[in-house]
């Protein structure tokens, strides 16, 4: 039947059918695709790494805004060390990152291991992951209005924490769910059969198997919190985090810009290894289990 239909169509417009088909075939066989993909990839990599390296190089330049690396100097780092204003925001962000990371690990583990046990997890999953798609400005403003105007609470570090947790948790949850949904619950039955009680089964079996995902959840939590600006602006009260400090400095007087260069370089030096570690965990450790 399909052969009949084909030959009928061919009978109506044999030339057009063949022409269209051969056009697409020729298009998909074009050798240029591989070259385009290669060059596009290269452009993206250049756009990513050149500015970063430029920033790092310029942080050692005597005249960073001129774009000339010479004369080389450590002045900006020295003035950064001499300038105490950035220390407090840095500590605030670092500690905030750790706390958000810890909260993400605990909450994502508890929620993430419960969702696959539900009879119909679809709805809960959707609601839990939707914050991923809520714009930061919207979420920040909404939380601000809710906490400040409706609950009439004083903003501060705690409200920044709430904003960061709401922001980072879906990512952390996603991380944990990758393993939790593949977790073989028959292993827990085997452990129970061998004499392990509920708590023991979690610590001996479930936790070690999910550990890479839980660490990933923590790393995500830290990085997302450490970099967060949009929500923090709304929820800061009188607190200042690292991104807020950088933003204020970069936006105000030009004289502070060199310090931003060196500060950004230091932040990069902290976060890149962290990210590297995260991906090592993700691909090396997860693959093994």
């Amino acid at each position: 039947m399909s052969e009949g239909a084909l030959s009928a169509a061919a009978a109506v417009a044999p030339d057009r059918v063949t022409a269209t088909a051969s056009f697409w075939r020729a298009l998909s066989a074009w050798r240029g695709w591989a070259a385009i993909a290669k060059w596009l990839g290269l452009v993206v990599l250049i756009l990513t790494y050149v500015p970063l390296m430029w920033l790092a190089v310029m942080s050692f330049s005597g005249r960073p805004l001129s774009g000339i690396p010479y004369p080389l100097t450590l002045d900006h780092y020295a003035s950064l060390l001499g300038d105490a204003r950035w220390v407090e925001p840095f500590i605030t962000s670092f500690v905030m990152g750790l706390i958000v990371a810890g909260a993400c690990m605990v909450v994502a583990t508890m929620v993430g291991r419960s969702i696959p046990r539900m009879r119909r997890p679809g709805g809960v999953l959707l609601i839990a992951l939707t914050p991923l798609f809520v714009p930061g400005l919207t979420m920040g403003a909404a939380l601000f209005i809710f906490i400040r105007t409706y609950l009439e609470l004083r903003l501060g570090a705690w409200s920044i924490f709430v904003g960061h947790l709401v922001w980072a948790l879906p990512f952390a949850l996603l991380m944990v769910l990758v393993i939790a949904t593949r977790f073989d619950h028959r292993l827990l039955e085997a452990a129970e059969d061998l004499g392990a009680k509920r708590w023991r089964r979690f610590w001996d079996i479930e936790f070690p198997i999910m550990r890479p995902a839980i660490i990933g959840a923590g790393l995500f939590g830290f990085l997302l919190s450490f970099n967060e600006l949009l929500r923090s602006i709304f929820l800061r009260g009188s607190e200042t985090t690292m991104p807020i400090f950088n933003w204020i400095m970069a936006a105000s007087h030009q004289s502070q810009v060199p310090i931003i260069f060196s500060l950004a370089t230091i932040v990069l030096a902290v976060t890149l290894p962290l990210m590297g570690g995260f991906f090592w965990v993700l691909f090396t450790r997860l693959d093994r289990s």
Binding site: D184, R186, L187, E189, A190, A191, E192, D193, L194, G195, A196, K197, R200, D204, I205, P208, I209, S289
Partner: protein, 366 residues
């Protein structure tokens, strides 16, 4: 010997399940099933998938909570309300369920670790258990480095190391290939003899059940249909289902006629067939029954060689060459009858009759 074990077991069974019923939603998976196992017995629960055999095993281990249960005793102790972690039995799972993040040795010693056995002692006992399953040198291996057969043996060692009163085996050889399965059967039997431990073994393979068991319980649709020794179930199936399940190739619908010299007589068309009555209750004349005879018990005769019991004229049917033997079909008035011929010298074209001994023939209720 086996009967002595059973008599002893009847007085002091190591396992006693009374009236276990289990429902999954509206589905009745287990319908008032009672079983007992004697100390040191190799008890096989045989049945096709969905017969309730695995549910029964999970109720014994405590991993499944039965809908209703009269009583459940392991080694004399009532464990109906005891959680799985506190029952004195361990399971070898079909899917192994080895812990992927632990080494072979850590897997084996896990049961001892949760019992608080000191490191040195549990290392020693885990090594011993591994040696028992011939994996003494694999203590530090990762689980994923092992072959299927080795994983199965690790699972076995892990279940044995805590010295349970009963070892539950849930289709443990199901995932292995044919050759390995036969080797493991021998190994399991060897272990059973060496340890004197009670094995409750689940399988859907009648061949496995016959080879290994002291006693077989055959289940169907959540109920026990027959229990007895392998020979008993193989030779004297109590119903048509059992006969079919135990691989009886020829099952011919018939009408029961009566008893004659201790044998049952059934009528198939114009023929009268004599055989052993295997039903639990006596049949009445005119009841629908089945005449059963195994292919390897059907014999052929050529003209001139007549006067055998249960003799029927036939002509050659389909011949299937199987290597060790030939499956020879024969067309008769009773329909097609399959026979298994081990003697390759027989020329199937010369066959004129087939027959079987009265003792080799069973007559079973529907």
């Amino acid at each position: 010997m086996a009967s002595a074990v059973r008599a002893e077991g009847a007085r002091h069974p190591i396992l006693e399940v009374r009236d276990a019923t289990h429902r999954f939603g509206d589905v009745l998976a287990l319908d008032r099933v009672s079983i007992t196992a004697a100390q040191g017995e190799f008890l096989t629960i045989l049945g096709e998938s969905g017969s309730g055999k695995t549910t029964l095993l999970r109720i014994v281990s405590g991993l499944e909570k039965p809908s209703e249960l009269e009583s459940l005793r392991i080694a004399g102790q009532d464990v109906a309300r005891v959680p799985a972690s506190d029952r004195n039995c361990t399971t070898v799972f079909q899917h192994y369920a080895l812990f992927p993040h632990m080494s072979v040795g850590e897997n084996v010693e896990y049961g001892l670790k949760v019992r608080g056995v000191a490191l040195v002692e549990r290392r020693r006992r885990a090594t011993e258990a591994l040696a028992l399953v011939r994996l003494g040198d694999k203590f530090d291996r990762r689980v994923h480095q092992l072959s299927g057969g080795e994983r199965q043996r690790v699972a076995l060692a892990r279940a044995l190391v805590t010295r349970p009163a009963i070892l539950l085996l849930d289709e443990p050889l199901g995932a292995l290939d044919e050759k390995l399965r036969q080797d493991m059967q021998v190994e399991l039997l060897d272990l059973h003899r060496k340890l004197g431990l009670t094995f409750v073994y689940i399988t859907h393979s009648q061949e496995e059940a016959l080879t290994m068991s002291d006693r077989i319980i055959l289940m169907r649709r959540g109920r026990i249909v027959q229990e007895g020794t392998p020979a008993n179930i193989f030779e004297r199936p109590a119903t048509r289902f059992v006969a079919d399940f135990m691989g009886m190739e020829n099952l011919i619908p018939a009408r029961f006629e009566g008893l004659e010299d201790g044998f049952a007589v059934a009528r198939v068309g114009a023929h009268r067939v004599r055989g052993n009555w295997c039903g639990v209750e006596q049949a009445a004349s005119g009841d629908q029954v089945h005449v059963g005879v195994r292919a390897e018990r059907v014999r052929f005769a050529v003209s001139g060689d007549e006067g055998h019991p249960n003799q029927i004229t036939c002509r050659q049917g389909q011949t299937v060459y199987k290597g060790k033997y030939v499956d020879q079909g024969a067309e008769t008035e009773l329909g097609t009858i399959s026979a298994r011929i081990w003697d390759h010298g027989l020329d199937p074209a010369r066959i004129t009759h087939l027959w079987w001994r009265t003792e080799d023939c069973v007559i079973v209720p529907d």
